[in-house]
Amino acid sequence: MKQDIEQLKQTASQVRRDIVRMVHGCQSGHPGGSLGCTDFLVALYFNIMNNDPSFNMDAKGEDLFFLSNGHISPVFYSVLAHAGYFDKSELSTFRKLNSRLQGHPTTHEGLPGVRIASGSLGQGLSVAIGAALAKRLNGDDSIVYTLHGDGELQEGQIWEAAMFAPHNKLDRLIATVDYNGQQIDGPTEMVLSLGNLKAKFEAFGWEVLEEPNGNDMASVVAVLEKAKSLTGKGKPIAILLKTGMGYGVDFMMGSHKWHGVAPNDEQLAVALAQLEETLGDY
């Protein structure tokens, strides 16, 4: 059931609440990137993708998503739970002993919705390409989506994969970059400049879309729809999605300092006051 923009916004608000509460509950994890990518993941799972929450690893005939920057697991888990892959009560186990919700996503504990472990950066685009190759061999026209951190693009393997996909005309692949300009040690431009990302992807043979409003739901849906319309035309598609790290919680916004830090009790209360409970807390 496709959600409209208003419904998507409601879902996103609940997901943001979940993120802050999960990270607070175990006093660890990565709230910044999770909050920044909430609108993207909500749009993907509740509007854009054709996916089946009853979950079959092989995913024949359905769209696929791979989270390459696995540290933003809180947003991934919350979205999967609300999409029906597992019960949202399980979100309370995040990063705790004996949980299926490991610090970084894994198939190892059998959590529905996760098809590859990620966390060590730079590997997800290759995996997605492999899955897209399998779909092509299987005569399956569905689309493979990925999400990457912008800092993650400093990993060399990304560019091995970026070279392979256009050479092999993988045109049902949509890779999105969370272009928030932040990484652990500071602004990306200071740590290791990414240069002109659009020109880089285009030079590798990708169709590139830029979306400056990656936290505006209507814009996110629109750019993903645009990307979908470009599939099947001989080129893989990259979306450079400008987001704000920590978006939705004022004191977390726009700073790399909340990349991997949990809020304390007081900060949690401040954050939750800014995020409406729309679907019920876990």
């Binding site: 198939t107 997605a128 399998a134």
Partner: protein, 321 residues
């Protein structure tokens, strides 16, 4: 000593190439990837037979391993091919996270393992790969001994669900196992029954162990020789049974003595039946350029060194008793 002869010699990598073709014929889900070493890996026949099921990755091994992991999502059985060095050390984290930890049904097929790669030298002669791979939870590690066994192993791993590291080599070596053998993963192969010493050998060292066994027999030493083609899971039952009979052990492998077959056997014995053991392996060093035969002699990986190790360990056993 049971007599082993051969009429033909071939490289084990050709066994892989022919096995891959056969596995591809038997199962349409078998696909292959190669990082710009199609000729070296003998993959040409597979590519000719199944062009749409082959993926040339270019010189990009990390991407190759990740793509192989992704291909399993959709039911494919991917075989990756490159040199052993680039199959393991270069892509360890990709194998660890995207294949082993993710429980993906990927077959990592590695040629030119060990010193017998020869003249290219130490940059390409990995002697640590068995250790790297066997430490990964859930990884099966196989190092067959000749062309026929490598072909059989290649077919067998396509039928086995789970990640596998298959290690083979470059040089032409005697073919002394059966062409129609059934390869059983994890089941050691009894080459020669004996009573005085257990020689556990893997890969190219199995033939050297046979040569050693014949010479030892001439001197009245009755060596039991067992081919440990599967280093993980180790056939503990076969090892313990043999050692209970002989009371001393030589392990022989084309690998660093740290982390290889010898260490797997030593660990098993330390817990279950502490036994004198000698290693025929590379003594914690890199290799160098030279012909395969020159290198195997210089680094102590031939029949003569197995004979010396056997005599030494038998003497230690007698001292202990």
């Amino acid at each position: 000593m049971k007599k082993y002869t051969y009429t033909d010699k071939k490289d084990t990598r050709s066994g892989f190439g022919d096995g891959l073709l056969e596995a591809g014929k038997r199962n349409p889900e078998v696909v292959a990837l190669c990082a710009d070493l199609v000729g070296s890996l003998k993959m040409a026949d597979f590519i000719k037979a199944f062009p749409e099921r082959f993926f040339q990755t270019g010189i990009a091994e990390a991407n190759m391993i990740g793509m192989a992991a992704g291909l399993t999502i959709g039911g494919k059985i991917p075989f990756t091919g490159t040199f052993a060095n680039f199959s393991t050390g270069r892509v360890y984290d990709q194998i660890r996270q995207s294949v082993a930890y993710s429980d993906k049904n990927v077959k990592i097929c590695a040629s030119h393992a060990g010193l017998t790669l020869g003249e290219d030298g130490a940059t390409h002669q990995i002697l640590e790969d068995i250790g790297l791979m066997k430490m990964l939870p859930g990884m099966t590690v196989i190092n067959p001994c000749d062309y026929n066994q490598t072909k059989a192993a290649t077919i067998a791993i396509a039928e086995h669900h789970g990640p596998v590291y298959l290690r083979f080599g470059r040089p032409v070596v005697p073919i002394f196992t059966d062409a129609d053998q059934k390869f059983e993963i994890g089941k050691a192969w009894m080459v020669n029954e004996g009573a005085d010493v257990s020689i556990f050998a893997t890969g190219h060292l199995v033939w050297e162990a046979i040569q050693a066994g014949e010479k030892l027999a001439e001197e009245g030493i009755d060596a039991e020789i067992i081919n440990i083609h599967t280093i993980k899971p180790l056939d503990a039952e076969a090892v313990l049974k043999s050692v209970a009979k002989t009371g001393c052990v030589v392990t022989a492998e084309e690998h660093n003595r740290l982390g290889g077959l010898g260490d797997s056997i030593a660990q098993l014995l330390a817990v279950n039946n502490p036994t004198p053991q000698e290693y025929v392996a590379v003594n914690d060093s890199f290799g160098e350029s030279g012909t395969p035969a020159q290198l195997m002699t210089k680094y102590g990986l031939d029949a003569e060194h197995i004979i010396a190790a056997a005599k030494k360990v038998i003497a230690r056993k007698k001292q202990n008793s």
